[in-house]
């Protein structure tokens, strides 16, 4: 888990047969010492409260020595192995050390040098999107066929619906960050506005989901404009911190304004989704009875899945269409060069505000879907971590790439969910071993590794919005990131 020192020129050139072991040994000892230093107080001793609420130390020196020994052996073998093997050492190291393989820089270089896509690859990327969409549309039925109504419920809900929510949020934020190049660290605020809009409107006035959905979008867009307007003069990281601050302000208001939002306790008893007025329950006028089906909760989950799928596809469709309209082109031009935009007469204020408002509107839709799905909202769900996760999805997907964002959402949300399924590891490491506690640890480490592995995102090519004769995919490196 420490820095693998760069191999010395002697070892790298491979021509000096004298003694590659001495520098390798030196590096390995240095790395082991660093690993030991890092683990010294925090791993070697466990501070635990005793019955009198006093801290006592419990020594865990073997663990510390073990980590140092592993690092020592790893670095030593990496350095004395032939150059071809080193790449594999680095990859294994990245995985084994909880993903903290800094040596991945070498393999990252491969990803960065984007060659013009080969015809086969172009064909693949051309067909991959529709194919993936087909799989996603059939996903509930595939699961139902494989696992039956009760077994598939978890998969459709925890994986399908959950991932689709983040796909939609990622696509929404992609308008702001990927297209307009405005770094927004408080996107979750609009998600919260949407969620609370539906929760409050439905519980207070009894409005149905289908009325609240557009209202939530409008309210969120309005907040996007309200929050966006004062900060338009700010650029880069100043914009980032103010959006972060607004996200936190909205959450803190939701926590503290108890009369309006019921505070940290949240709002429960939010009406569940209905099939255009027909409830999904086992009543005589419920969905199952009307369609002469046996009652199971799976119908509601499947309906929710298709609902969020439709909303996400709407986001995607609107984004793709807008990219061809003057406003979409203005966004991208703004991202590439704001000064050039201004000199060409583009109204940067309106352009930025529309990006904020549209991104916020889709966040609001996703929020109201979230509250109709959960039936309960509380400020806990709208922390900065959510914003960070959504931003990570957008950046990891490759900013501006719709397909990349969808893949990144599936990876970032699906993988931590899969970590919950690791109960079999208890049989190896004993009953005390709880794999779920390593879930977020690995999530954080994976974020670092994936960024180092592919700094420009998983999809490294972009299709230009506008072209002269034929559309050619361009490297993501050519696309600017904007300065807010």
């Amino acid at each position: 888990m420490t820095a693998a020192p760069q191999s010395t020129p002697v070892a790298k050139s491979g021509e000096a047969t004298a003694s590659p072991f001495v520098p390798a040994l030196r590096n390995a000892v240095a790395a082991a010492l660093v690993a030991f230093g890092l683990s010294f107080p925090i791993i070697s001793y466990h501070a635990e409260s005793n019955i009198n609420n006093e801290l006592v130390l419990i020594g865990r020196w073997p663990l510390s020595f073990g980590i140092a020994a592993i690092v020592f052996l790893f670095v030593l073998f990496r350095q004395v192995s032939p150059p071809d093997w080193r790449v594999w050492f680095d990859r294994v190291g990245a995985v084994a050390a909880g993903g903290m393989g800094g040596a991945l820089a070498e393999s990252a270089a491969e990803g960065e040098g984007v060659a013009p896509p080969s015809p086969a690859r172009a064909r693949f990327s051309q067909w991959f999107g529709p194919f993936a969409l087909g799989v996603v549309i059939l996903f509930p039925f595939i699961m139902l066929g494989l696992l039956g109504p009760s077994g598939s419920l978890k998969w459709i809900n925890n994986y399908g619906v959950q991932i689709m929510i983040y796909v939609m949020l990622g696509w929404g934020l992609n308008i702001v960050v990927g297209l307009a190049g405005l770094l927004d660290l408080g996107y979750v605020a609009f998600y919260a506005v949407g969620a609370y809009s539906y929760a409050l409107l439905s519980t207070t006035f009894g409005l149905s989901f289908w009325i609240c959905l557009p209202l939530a979008g409008v309210l969120a867009a309005m907040w996007g404009v309200i929050l966006g307007f004062p900060v338009l003069r700010l650029r880069g990281d100043y914009l980032a911190i103010v959006t972060l601050a607004f996200g936190e302000i909205i959450r803190l208001v939701l926590v503290n304004w108890v009369d309006f939002t019921n505070g940290g306790a949240g709002i429960s008893g939010i009406p569940h989704v209905t099939f255009f007025g027909i409830p999904f329950n086992d009543d005589d006028n419920g969905f199952a009875a009307i369609f002469h089906l046996p009652y199971t909760p799976i119908y509601r989950t499947m309906f929710l899945f298709y609902l969020i799928l439709a909303l996400a596809l709407l986001t995607n469709f609107v984004t793709l269409r807008l990219r061809r309209l003057p406003i979409g082109r203005a966004w991208e031009a703004l991202r590439e060069d704001e000064i050039a935009c201004r000199s060409l007469g583009i109204n940067t204020t309106n352009t930025k505000l529309t990006a904020f408002a549209l991104g916020a509107m889709f966040g609001g839709f996703a929020g109201s879907f979230f509250s109709v799905r959960q039936g309960f909202v509380s400020p806990e769900s709208f922390t900065f971590m959510e914003s960070a996760t959504i931003l990570a999805i957008v950046v990891l997907g490759g900013m501006g790439s719709q397909l990349g964002v969808a893949i990144a959402a599936a990876v970032m949300i699906g993988a931590p969910e899969l970590m919950r399924e690791l109960d079999w590891m208890k049989q190896i490491f004993g009953a005390d071993f709880d794999p779920t506690q390593y879930r977020m640890l690995l999530f954080g480490a994976a974020m670092v590794v994936m960024m180092i592995w592919k700094p420009r995102g998983l999809v490294s090519t972009r299709s230009p919005s506008i072209f002269l004769k034929e559309s050619k995919a361009v490297s993501g490196d050519l696309v600017k990131e904007g300065h807010g």
């Binding site: 100043y238 601050a245 390593y438 670092v448």
Partner: protein, 304 residues
């Protein structure tokens, strides 16, 4: 008036802690233009390191003298936290140097998640109460309302002032400081002139971490309890302070830290504690609307 004085004392103490963390943000931003989101969690980690080192000294080595223990904890905490930040920079940020701006940001957010969960896994999720330390409280006025100044508060403010003085000297008058400022202005040119850029950046991270470690030690002394999740809020506040003061400006970071500390304390005292963070963030937003590059920051000049 008495209340005002009391809140002033409390605010300056809190502001010192924020200021020390904010320097780490602002230095890293100045030199590589990156928001180091993991800095708040590094601060939390340093508080844990300080707590454990202190317990090793008192419980295992049975060191009797508190001042000596305090100095050892401070030095060990600074060294070990510096080592951590060095390793973090080496593994998570250096491979991304020169890559596009958002890549190191996401890497830093990942590191922040990693660090807080790492501490949760190795030290457990519950609050860690620090051992009781003797504290002397001075009573400044004899009236109906006591204005108190505890020796801890004096220690925190004096230590912050001394460290800032030393640090200011380091940046302004030593060759290391010159190398740092040169890298800030133009990294490529500095490298051409024989400055070891990698080394300078590493040292910057180590210094930032050492100051965060001092803040961590003070946090444990002042609040007497630490938890794995305690990094995020002070981290965001310190980042806010750095931006408020003008990110990249060292005096600005301290000024911003003091301002955020004072706003928070005065708001809690005169209005309500519920909205103290909202107040701090609102003042940040309002300040930035009128001064888009912070209080002491230089406006960004864009060449076409």
């Amino acid at each position: 008036m008495d209340n005002f004085l009391q809140q002033l004392i409390n605010g300056v103490t809190l502001g010192s802690i924020y200021g020390l963390i904010a320097i780490g943000y602002t230095m890293v931003y100045g030199i590589i233009g990156m928001v180091n989101f993991a800095h708040g969690d590094l601060f939390m980690l340093s508080a844990f390191i300080a707590l454990i080192v202190f317990m090793i000294l008192t419980q295992i080595l049975h060191l009797g003298s508190l001042p000596i223990a305090f100095v050892i904890v401070l030095v060990a905490g600074m060294a070990l936290t510096g080592l951590w930040n060095w390793a973090i920079e080496r593994l998570a940020y250096r491979p991304l140097r020169g890559s596009f701006r958002l890549a190191p940001l996401i890497s830093a957010i990942g590191m922040s998640i990693f660090l807080s969960n790492f501490v949760q896994v190795v030290q457990g999720p519950r609050n860690k109460p620090a051992p009781q330390l003797p504290n002397h409280v001075f009573n400044l006025t004899g009236g109906a309302y006591d204005v108190t100044l505890s020796i801890r508060q004096v220690l925190i403010v004096v230590l912050t002032a001394v460290l800032l003085g030393a640090f200011w000297y380091l940046v302004q008058y030593t060759s290391l400081g010159r190398a740092q400022r040169a890298c800030e202005q133009d990294r490529k040119m500095a490298a051409l002139l024989g400055i070891d850029v990698d080394m300078t950046i590493s040292i910057t991270f180590i210094i930032g971490a050492a100051l965060a470690a001092v803040a961590g030690v003070m946090f444990v002394i002042y609040y007497g309890v630490v938890n794995f999740a305690d990094g995020f809020v002070p981290g965001v506040k310190a980042f806010t302070a750095a931006v408020l003061g003008g990110i990249g400006s060292l005096p600005g970071a301290v000024l911003g830290g003091l301002l955020i500390g004072l706003i928070e304390v005065f708001w809690s005292s005169y209005f309500t504690t519920d909205y103290k963070d909202v107040a701090a963030f609102m003042i940040l937003a309002i300040t930035l609307i009128f001064m888009p590059s912070g209080i002491l920051g230089r406006p960004e000049v864009e060449k076409v």
